[in-house]
């Protein structure tokens, strides 16, 4: 039977999806780019190495091979057993400990896997009452920072090494001579640690005149401050997003950059779960100037410049608040937003109609008055105790950061103790912190890195001690989570480099007993009610103290007076123009405020929206970029994209950086991510991005106006983005519908399959036809696009679990990133008149889709492998046998999903900036690489410290792949095999070896475990009772590229939007159900767009 080759179907089903402006513009360069297997020279050796050089290198290699052959015997290896057997330890069996990762004012309770004493994988604590085991990408990546070879490793006094004992003695003597604390100042980061509170209290009693300053460059605390003012007592709001039907987010990226985002994601997606067509679903409205993950997931999005946001909020308040609460000032504030009434009025109506089930949120960048306004709206909407609860919270007191800087400059501070943070890098630039810091006679600084705040000779400080801070996986401590529950931080490993904790420094300074951090935490736990050792043991075992959540504030009374006075202080700012741009400084999705700058996993993680790696950029909207003449007609050379660099001036301060044209950004607005452009950081972070803090002053912490852009006429800056890689060219890869359409036709996703399956047979045989009967289980995965918000936690979880290397900016630029799971972000433009299309480019909707190996049953990759390195097992996994792989890359060529990754270099053993250098010419640690290799051939040419430390984070259950090997998602094969082995060990001579979800023996994949939204579900599809079977039976289920008949084991649940019919941007998503309907739709307004495409 002859199989007719498939024409490349190019159906414009649904909206037009596009991933980058190049694709939308449909340039020839873009076509060239996507039509390649690995775009942009990824598969070529374009390095200017001459033939002569090549022959030279090769002949030397042959010489070496000759030398090596003489040693063709098995090297003698030693086994070193214990001299004394430790208790409760079996070599090879991983151990799990409960701990918690502190965040600004909260914490994430964790279970950390330790293999042979090395913490290697972080998971959320699934037993924690307020969590589901999900985490965020920063938590997942924190284990890499533990093994960072650039960590601060020694105590230093004025730059030269000193001992740990010396600093502890010095702190004690400093404390003794501090008197009543005059001239003493502590600069701390926010923390929720009960122990730190206790020590701080004790020290305040001892040194009543000492100043305490909490400083966060990006302070996420505004919501608490506003609620405390409005309700007259110190309370903290906690949002019950799962209870809300209508959510309006005003510049609040609660899915991405707010405090406790993974908790918000969990609750938000709970309100969006569809198990049947009658399930309710929440609706999200977003008002924002940047394009954030929250905006991406919203049903309606209003794009306004930052100077307009307060006006829109005020306008919304006019329509929500009772008329008695509205004063003239509010009307004045709201006036500029009148033009947006078409959007605001129906949105407000929806809020009011759902009173008690609606919620308004304000983001950290907004002024306190805006938060007070939001508090008033929520109060008036009856949200209190329904969709928002208030918990009692400790009062925040202390000196403000500018006051501390002033006190330093005035010479009032002799002793400055900095615990954590990096003020010299991230303080508002007008405070001139490095100089202020140098005014103190003695500076003691505890920091994780030797960075900008560490001692430098130019600062002329009398004495500065720099102390290495312990990682949280090496420390004893305690924290409170967002809801106030106490959780322990317990160490999984001794401090690798003698790290010291905050608690130790404080205790030593006050000469307090007990002084050891363990005893301090134990003592605090006693005060919290844990008297007995059993309680303590349970606390450490569970990872939290049950029932210790903060008390709910009893019937809080809203006080409108605070609001009125705060609003009086607000003034409307003029709308931005192209010569006076608005600037937004935002917390970067990966670097945070710069603290994760030296973490390679996070540097290489594509930003959820821009998909940029290793850099930040000056974000501009397409219209603004065009107006400024720096539109993205990027310089395409050698198939690489280069960007314009511009000079951005705000209030007389200037930075230069590359332009990134970001669809969906408000016009005349510049987005600047903080956390890059570090002057002093480790080998990973050096040279990444530009420092946006240089434009940030005390008055313009988050917004600035009046910025100008000067074109430098230099378009040579390369930005490494993954957004155009692996493009899917308009096939119905993502399928979505509106809620109403879904209710009418729940199986819409299946009918969106273009009715042109020209294949009457699969292209490739299905090995499972014969072997399926041998398999005990049949593995499969279901991904709910309605739950996935694109947070990228899964990507880092996978990287951590599966030893996925980072490849560096240059390699990402060549499309050689190694992530086994990626989050595809597609912008979508409604199809319609050209006006609408134009608008669509300006205000696109966007969808995200996790893409990983689909584990096709009739897999195209397997049939082209000449060495059987990729094959099927009888449980339905498409497996890679690395030791068989010879690196032909045929499989990747033949993979329709583009999920296979090739090791172009030995990324695990070579420094990323030396990839192209031969070992014959490299010198590492002062030794010729060849000599190093002869001494120890296993050792890569990484510097010794990097080599020793980078090995520690590897998962011993997964092969570390070498150069020339193809790899891809294995559905966490190691976890499956271990679970099967555990079942067999338990079964012994019984036949009960089948894993079952009911018994809890089916493992979770790393991505599934990390997903706070619960979007990824893995399981046994041959078990009719398993969750994955039930999900796959849902009507929304579809297979990506199903017309190829590859029978993927990974299926998707189509996305459903819930737009409001009364909104101006409401649009039915076009959903042709049959080819005929599709054709007739096509002959209409779509004709000019699709003509000449999709026809063979």
């Amino acid at each position: 039977m002859k199989t007719i080759p498939p024409p490349c179907p190019e159906p414009e089903v649904g909206p037009k999806y596009w991933r980058s402006l190049e694709q939308l513009a449909d340039t020839p360069e873009f076509h060239q780019w996507v039509e390649r297997e690995f775009p942009s020279g990824a598969s070529e050796f374009t390095d200017p190495v001459s033939r002569r050089n090549f022959v030279k290198v090769m002949s030397a290699s042959f010489l070496l091979a000759g030398l090596g052959a003489t040693g063709c015997r098995r090297p003698t290896e030693k086994i070193y057993p214990f001299a004394k057997m430790p208790l409760n330890y079996t070599y090879g069996v991983p151990q799990y400990f409960a701990t918690a990762m502190p965040s600004r004012r909260g914490a994430t309770p964790l279970i950390v896997k330790s293999s042979e004493g090395r913490p290697i994988k972080i998971e959320g604590n699934p037993d924690f009452p307020d969590g589901n085991g999900g985490t965020d990408h920063i938590t997942q990546a924190s284990v890499l920072s533990l093994y960072d070879p650039d960590r601060a490793m020694r105590v230093r006094r004025n730059g030269s090494g000193d001992s740990r004992a010396a600093i502890l003695d010095f702190l004690q003597s400093l404390g003794k001579s501090a008197g009543d604390g005059t001239g003493l100042a502590f600069l701390l980061e926010q923390s929720s640690s009960p122990s730190r509170d206790r020590l701080q209290q004790a020290l305040t009693e001892k040194f009543p005149k000492a100043q305490w300053c909490l400083y966060e460059p990006v302070d996420l605390d505004a919501g608490r401050q506003a609620a405390s003012l409005a309700y007259g007592s110190s309370v903290e709001p906690s949002y019950k997003l799962d209870q809300a039907q209508v959510i309006v987010s005003v510049d609040c990226d609660f899915i991405g950059s707010e405090q406790d985002a993974h908790g918000h994601i969990q609750r938000f997606t709970d309100g969006r779960t569809l198990n049947g067509k009658d399930d309710p679903m929440n609706r999200l409205y977003t008002v924002e100037s940047l394009f954030t993950l929250t905006g991406l997931n919203s049903d309606h999005r209003l794009r306004v410049p930052p100077s307009m946001i307060v006006a829109v909020l005020a306008r919304l308040a006019l329509n929500v608040l009772k008329s008695s609460d509205i004063d003239q000032k509010l009307r004045e504030l709201a006036a500029p937003a009148e033009s947006h009434d078409a959007w605001i009025v129906p949105c407000a109506k929806d809020l009011v109609a759902n009173a008690g089930k609606s919620l308004v949120l304000a983001g950290y960048r907004l002024p306190l008055a805006a938060h007070l306004l939001v508090t008033a709206m929520n109060d008036s909407l009856g949200a209190v105790n329904q969709t928002v609860e208030f918990h009692e919270a400790p009062k925040a007191t202390g000196t403000t950061f500018p006051d501390l800087a002033a006190a330093l400059n005035a010479g009032h501070v002799q002793t400055l103790i900095i615990l954590g943070g990096n003020p010299a890098y991230n303080a508002p630039v007008d405070l001139n912190w490095p100089q202020a810091q140098a005014k103190a006679k003695t500076v003691v600084r505890l920091g994780y890195y030797e960075d900008e705040t560490s001692w430098n000779a130019a600062s002329h400080v009398d004495t500065q001690w720099d102390l290495p801070m312990a990682h949280y996986l090496e420390s004893w401590g305690d924290v409170r989570t967002a809801d106030g529950t106490v959780a322990p931080i317990q160490p999984l490993i001794d401090p690798l480099f003698g790290g010291i904790t905050e608690l130790e420094v404080l205790a030593a300074f006050g000469a307090m007993t007990p002084a050891s951090p363990y005893e301090i935490v134990r003592e605090t736990f006693r005060t919290l009610g844990g008297k007995s050792d059993d309680d303590w043991g349970k606390f450490l075992h569970d990872g939290f103290l049950a029932g210790s959540a903060a008390a709910k504030a009893a019937s809080p009374q809203h006080n409108p007076a605070e609001l009125a006075s705060a609003i009086n202080g607000l003034k409307a700012s003029p709308a931005p123009t192209k010569d006076s741009l608005d600037v937004v400084f935002y917390r970067d999705a990966k670097m945070d405020d710069g603290r994760n700058n030296n973490n390679g996993w996070l540097q290489e993680l594509p930003d959820p929206i821009t998909k940029l790696t290793w850099d930040n950029a000056i974000l501009l909207s397409p219209v603004t970029a065009q107006a400024l003449g720096v539109f993205t007609n990027r310089n395409v050379q050698n198939q690489k994209f280069f960007n314009y660099r511009v000079e951005l001036t705000v209030n007389g301060r200037t930075i230069t950086g590359p332009i990134w044209v970001q669809p969906g950004l408000a016009d005349n607005t510049v987005g600047l991510a903080l956390g890059y452009g570090r002057e002093k950081t480790g080998r990973v972070g050096t040279g990444t991005g530009f420092n946006a803090y240089k434009l940030r002053t005390t008055d313009t912490l988050y917004f600035a106006s009046g910025a100008t852009v000067k074109d430098l006429h230099d378009n040579s800056y390369e930005l490494a983005t993954t957004q155009s890689h692996w493009s899917m060219e308009g096939r119905p890869v993502v399928r979505e519908a509106n809620l109403a359409q879904y209710r009418k036709n729940p199986a819409f996703a299946k009918s969106m399959r273009p009715e042109m399956p020209p294949l009457n047979l699969p292209l490739y045989p299905n090995p499972l036809d014969t072997t399926k009967k041998n398999g005990l289980h049949q593995w499969g995965m279901s991904i709910d696009l309605n739950r996935c918000v694109g947070c990228s936690a899964c990507m880092i979880a996978c990287q951590s679990e599966n030893n996925v290397p980072i490849v560096g900016k240059e390699m990402v630029g060549k499309s050689r990133e190694m992530h086994w799971i990626r989050i595809d972000r597609y912008y979508s433009t409604p199809l319609g008149t050209s006006d609408e299309k134009e608008k669509g480019m300006e205000e696109p909707q966007a969808v995200v889709q996790p893409m990983l190996c689909q584990h096709c049953e009739a897999a195209p990759c397997e049939n082209v492998c000449p060495v059987n390195a990729t094959s099927h097992d009888d449980e339905g996994l498409n497996v890679m046998t690395y030791n068989r792989c010879v690196g032909t890359r045929y499989c990747s060529n033949n993979c329709p999903y583009k999920v296979r990754r090739f090791n172009f270099f030995d990324y695990n053993r070579r420094p990323l900036n030396h990839l192209y250098k031969s070992p014959l010419v490299t010198v590492t640690d002062g030794e010729w690489e060849l000599l190093r290799w002869l001494k120890n051939p296993d050792k890569g040419n990484l510097p010794e410290d990097e080599w020793q430390l980078s090995r520690l984070v590897k998962n011993p259950d997964v092969t570390v792949r070498m150069r020339g090997v193809m790899e891809k998602c294995s559905l966490c094969l190691q976890r499956i095999e271990q679970a099967k082995i555990a079942a067999k060990v338990k079964a012994r001579d019984s036949g009960d070896i089948r894993l079952s979800e009911a018994k809890g023996t089916v493992p979770k994949t790393a991505c599934q475990q990390a997903c706070p939204a619960g979007a990824i579900v893995f399981g046994d599809i041959s078990d009719p009772k398993s969750t994955v079977t039930k999900l796959k039976a849902q009507e929304r289920t579809y297979q990506v590229l199903d017309f190829l008949l590859t029978k993927p084991r990974t299926t998707y649940l189509a996305r459903v939007r819930n737009p409001n019919q009364d909104m101006p941007d409401y649009k039915e998503l076009p959903m042709p159900y049959t080819t005929k309907e599709y054709d007739s739709a096509k002959s209409g307004s779509l004709e000019e767009e699709t003509s000449g495409k999709g026809e063979e």
Binding site: P81, L973, E977
Partner: protein, 223 residues
Amino acid sequence: MSDIFPKWTNRLPRNLIIGALLVGTAVTGGVTYYFTPKYTRVGYEPIQPVAFPHSVHVTQLGLDCRYCHNGVEKSWYSNIPATSVCMNCHNQVLKDDPRLAVVRESSATGQPIEWVQIHKMPDYVFFNHSVHVNRGISCVECHGHINHMDEVFHAKPLSMTFCLNCHRDPAMHVRPLDKITDLDWTVPHNTESDWKSQQLALGTKIVHDWHVQSLQNCSTCHR
């Protein structure tokens, strides 16, 4: 033309072919014999820091394998015992014997004894001891009759063929769980051919009752 090509050149093609065949056979034979684990691994018997005779401890004294290798049922790895385990007996027995000086020193200083590794899997093979010994595969299947060895040597090739032979036909290799560490045990039998049929009968029953799988997927061992 005979001026250019002397007569012997007529035989040259034949000789070349025969020669090539001979050389080819020799090379193939050499490689199959010398380059396989059967030659490179079997018989490897390094000198250990302590002359530990398994024959004495197991066969004469009747120690169970798991007294020392106590991780074997729980972990992928079968551990070499800690010095403290040796000293459980040897602080009483042969407490001044010079052959045990290294052990006593290790116990006193806390420094490990440096044993030389004999059995080693490549890094891309994920062998798991616990699942084998808990499911009817005796130590003897892979390690040979360690209970009779004075000094341990590599008895079986542990090549992929070796693994697959058993994985393809588990019935000929499984035994009751209480006989796992009884390395001399065989199914009761009279003659060699009787052993085969007896083992096959027992093995088939075990394979059926315990749901022993004949796992030959790549993913069974390579991850």
